[in-house]
């Protein structure tokens, strides 16, 4: 008996609607966050992550309403990220029913934000999202942190940054490979493994999942504590239940 590896579907939300082709048989409204969340919940998702992809800061209130509606009906952990910039943003999302808030660009712009937030709300609800891209170097692999949805280079070494965020009080790291994101080639396993070995806090692997085997690889090879995926679940290719069966067959402990 031990801790189960988590499978986390990720939903992109804007204007109060789930976007990017959610394609389930029998959904009345594929854009309704509550309906989509319930479907993943039924499939056995261990957590859900909502990413607010609204570019401007208008419309943030809609995200708060989405969280309120989902939290009233889906009783598994909810993480919300995208555009979280201040203690006040975090408080509003937590009060709306989010269990964790994920901070990305704002953590780089203001490293004290993570420390303040962890001090105020507890490390358990502060996720630091790191978008990392490989740096072409000879010798040991290196990755650089990117912000603004992967568009802006920061010059920060991803592993050093991850350690700093852990020391600042992050409760876990959501680690996305920019090289693999959207490719369906699988996780950057070397990146995931480097983080998992380096950090004492849980690491969620993200970016590149194209098959169910990729999820297992993230755990068995990358040593990830949790795996996050979007498109393989959204387009109805696979269910979370199928993913868990494959993981269980490969000896990974999952929640039935």
């Amino acid at each position: 008996m031990s801790l189960a590896t988590r499978i986390i579907p990720c939903l992109d939300v804007t204007g109060g609607r789930v976007v990017k082709g959610v394609n389930f048989v029998g959904l009345r409204d594929a854009g309704d966050p509550v309906e989509v969340a319930k479907r993943y919940d039924d499939q056995g998702a261990d957590e859900l992550t909502f990413l607010d992809i609204t570019a401007s800061s208008d419309g943030r209130d809609t995200m708060v309403q989405v969280v309120e509606q989902v939290a009233a009906q889906v009783f598994i952990p909810l993480t919300v990220g995208g555009g979280v910039r201040s203690i006040d943003d975090i408080r509003r999302l937590l009060n709306a029913g989010a269990d964790k808030v994920s901070i990305n660009t704002a953590a780089v712009q203001n490293p004290d934000l993570v420390r303040d937030a962890a001090g105020r709300f507890g490390s358990q609800c502060i996720v630091v999202a790191i978008d990392a891209r490989r740096v072409p170097v000879d010798g040991p692999a290196k990755w650089e942190v990117f912000t603004h949805g992967g568009r802006r280079a920061t010059g920060l070494d991803a592993l050093v940054w991850g350690r700093r965020m852990q020391d600042a009080g992050a409760g876990e790291i959501l680690l996305t490979s920019m090289d693999r994101d959207g490719t369906k080639l699988g996780f950057d396993l070397e990146l995931v493994r480097a983080f998992s070995d380096e950090l004492a806090i849980p690491v969620i692997a993200s970016g590149g999942v194209g098959s169910l085997e990729h999820l297992s690889d993230g755990v068995l090879v990358g040593k990830a504590d949790a795996v996050l995926a979007a498109s393989i679940f959204h387009y109805g290719e696979f269910t979370v239940g199928q993913a868990k069966r494959v993981m269980a067959e490969r000896g990974i402990e999952v929640r039935a």
Binding site: L3, R6, P77, S123, D197, I201, K223, A226
Partner: protein, 227 residues
């Protein structure tokens, strides 16, 4: 029925309140920092998030300690996460004295050294779905499978002075007490409000629980002011 969820300003209580409302549609669920409202409720949920020193400080800042001590003796009482830890004598987190309702200590995972399980480094916080071994029969476990999984997120765990008060055990990697029971108190390290079917069932059981009913084996120290 009125159920008070004690609000001392630490974290999100909405999830707890929503889950209780979900399983007890007829009940009035009150998220409150008023001692009078806590004292007048029929059942009390004592949640907690964040760091124990802050939780104790905020509880006292709202002068809620006497009310919590009172209802911990007199009403069906459910502690959750830090709400479990605060019931004990002392926590290593910030070297903080607790409420002393239950004898024992709160310790940090891995303080004995790096934790490994089958060659894999174990992370702190202990975060995710883990199994609970029901170590005694209790009305709150009714209809919940032994070894059912619940959602955990914590870096500290309780070590009760009375091993007999353990109602549930979980391995990470060594066994720790993940639920305690004594008289009218049931308290859990995991988050029932985030634990899907098993968690909702536990909350429903709490809503229907009468610690003072005849023949209830969990009844060990019946208070004089029974309600």
């Amino acid at each position: 029925m009125r159920i008070a969820v004690i609000d001392y300003g630490m974290g999100n209580l909405r999830s707890v309140a929503k889950a209780v409302e979900h399983v007890a549609p007829g009940a009035e669920v009150l998220v409150t920092s008023s001692a009078a409202e806590v004292l007048s409720a029929e059942r009390v949920v004592f949640p907690g998030q964040g760091a124990m020193p802050d939780c104790m400080r905020e509880l006292d800042a709202r002068a809620l300690r006497p009310a919590v001590l009172e209802v911990a003796r007199t009403k069906p009482f459910l502690g959750i996460c830090i709400g479990l830890q605060m019931l004990f004598d002392h926590s290593d987190e910030g070297d903080t004295p607790g409420l002393g309702v239950l004898g024992g200590e709160v310790r940090r995972f891995g303080s004995e050294g790096l934790m490994e399980d089958a060659g894999r480094r174990l992370k702190v916080p202990h975060m995710g779905w883990n199994q609970v071994r029901q170590s005694l029969a209790h009305p709150l476990w009714q209809g919940i499978e032994n070894l059912a999984r619940f959602y955990f997120v914590h870096s500290y765990y309780v070590v009760p002075a009375d091993p007999g008060s353990a109602a549930g055990m979980t391995d990470y990697p060594r066994p720790f007490v993940s639920a305690v029971s004594t008289g009218n108190i049931f308290a859990v390290q995991f988050h029932p409000e985030k634990s899907h079917t098993a968690g909702l069932k536990l909350l429903a059981n709490f809503v229907n629980w009468n610690p003072w009913s005849v023949g209830d084996p969990s009844l060990s120290d019946r208070p004089s002011e029974k309600r």
